[in-house]
Subunit: 327 residues, 2 copies
């Protein structure tokens, strides 16, 4: 993300912020034990777009005066949210039996599920410890609430695996919980720590939640349509693990007769190529993509007025990138 | 534990405290989702001796005047520590491929590893959220440090599986991290929240850490010698999973020639009966038991002077029970 930031007067602030976040992240995970240290270095290689820390920083800058700096708490919250995200990646890769992440091997593939379970726990624990270092109990409370919601979303998703009756409303509730709330919290807390008015903080939360939802739909599409070399992680996991994603749900709800049967058979047989053909034919892939774009448009329309020069354009650009990405 | 409390003037306070802790614990985990709710109810059945909450309460009472009540923070910390403990049980059962816990089925056995990973995460997250509700950032910071240490202990133990060169010093360092620090924190925070002087708080931390260490040695012995019906959980897991425990380490260090070969062969073959015979013959089981007893004696000698009538005797009794238990 950093190298691909749009041309903006805020680019130096964002780059400097992301470097501070990376330093805090790495220092928090330092361990005297070589076995632990090595695992943490491996996980640091998963760091890619840094979408969530970028959103904390940009949301924070959006509500400051030109020339003003962010607070130290912004960096801590950004690093905490990224660490929570990393923990979910490590544990999700166990749930998905994934072997590739960021073009490298996953921890579960490389070192076994046991080590991946404990490394994820170590990341969660360190995230909460890091957050506590800010000394503001309201941050712990809010992020604890966010991770409770996130785990509930994952548990509900697990309980509905291989359930072909999963409907759109439940899908969006699962996505809100497992993905959107954390992205929402990044925007919310960035703005709140910068002293934004309550109404703007709430609007930034909604902006982030919408981005997170669109991000997840794009992830579903990449898992269905992308190739591993470009996406950089194991794909086809949703079908393999019986997770019904938006294009499949839209197809099942909108087709009847042979068209529906073709997709259901492909899901049962875990036949990705046949599933793609059926979903393309019914327009369900295009419909899911359109839904993601319309959620991003809704997010952009709901953006509150920001105070810093260049911030509004940057937030709009970041929103567009969520659905334009191919990895 | 509650029904088996020694006769003490403090019994009513402890029972009332444990009931408050159980209520806080259950209320924290309540979920609108039946799938999540059902899993939490299952985990609540794991609640047994409640050693850690009991230690928070007794350590707290120890530094109050007769007739005084504990603070609300005591209950929150006690419930938080029990929830952290439950999370480690759920994840440990994955690491150990255990099928039985508290005479019931484990979550991983009943619902698969994926659900057990996420349920453990949900418990960790809720533990931190609950702790944040006390509004005291120093509690979050301390318990975050404790869980960091705990996960490091587990990661180091995992990295040394099947390593027959594991020595006593490393064994005790692993045990300190994965078990003793949490029991230590229960005693430390109980005393600190009651306003105990710093020196006494430190002494209570050491008391708890020693109890935790002796507790782990007793757990090792039960895994090696106990039967599943009495212990109430899967046994023989240490040998199965290549975890060298104290009796094995003492045997390997103290024997030479055929006696050593017999144990090493039994470990390689995962032959529990042959291993028990070898360790009995060399006196290593008795030596490990004696070590646990001597650590408990050390804990008792280091107890600080307490202010409340009956507290000292109760702490001494709780210490003795750690090594007397058969489950």
């Amino acid at each position: 993300m950093s190298s691909a930031l749009p041309t903006t007067p805020l680019a130096p602030n964002i780059l400097a912020g992301l470097e501070r976040v990376a330093s805090i992240f790495d220092a928090q995970l330092a361990s005297d034990f070589p076995a632990v240290e090595e695992l943490c270095r491996h996980v640091e290689r998963y760091r890619g777009k840094m979408l969530r820390p970028t959103l904390v920083i940009v949301s924070g800058l959006s509500f400051t005066r030109d020339g003003a700096e962010l607070r130290a708490e912004h960096d801590i919250v950004a690093a905490t949210i990224e660490m929570i995200h990393m923990a979910t990646l490590v544990h999700d890769d166990i749930l998905d039996d994934a072997t590739v992440r960021r073009r490298g091997e996953t921890v579960n593939f490389l070192r076994g599920n046991e080590t991946a379970v404990m490394l994820g726990d170590y990341l969660i624990s360190n995230a909460f410890h890091l957050c506590s270092r800010a000394g503001d109990p309201s941050l712990n409370l809010r992020l604890g609430e966010v991770t409770n919601t996130l785990c509930e979303g994952e548990l509900v998703q697990l309980s509905r695996r291989h359930d072909l009756t999963l409907d759109e409303a439940t899908y969006f509730e699962i996505v809100r919980r497992k993905t959107a709330v954390l992205v929402g919290a990044a925007c919310e807390l960035g703005a709140r720590l910068a002293g934004a008015p309550d109404a703007d903080v709430r609007a930034m939360l909604r902006f982030g939640e919408r981005l997170g939802t669109a991000f997840q739909i794009q992830d579903d599409l990449l898992d269905l349509l992308g190739d591993e070399a470009t996406v950089g992680k194991s794909i086809g996991r949703d079908l393999e693990k019986g997770k019904l994603t938006l294009p499949m749900i839209l197809h099942i709800a909108s087709t009847r007769g042979n068209a529906r049967i073709a997709a259901l058979d492909a899901i049962d047989a875990k036949d990705g190529a046949a599933l793609r053909r059926a979903l393309e034919a019914s327009g369900s892939i295009e419909a899911a993509r359109a839904r993601a774009v319309s959620i991003v448009e809704e997010a952009k329309r709901g953006l509150p007025r920001t105070t810093r020069t260049g911030a509004q354009e940057l937030l709009l650009e970041l929103a567009d990138r969520v659905v334009a990405r191919d990895h």
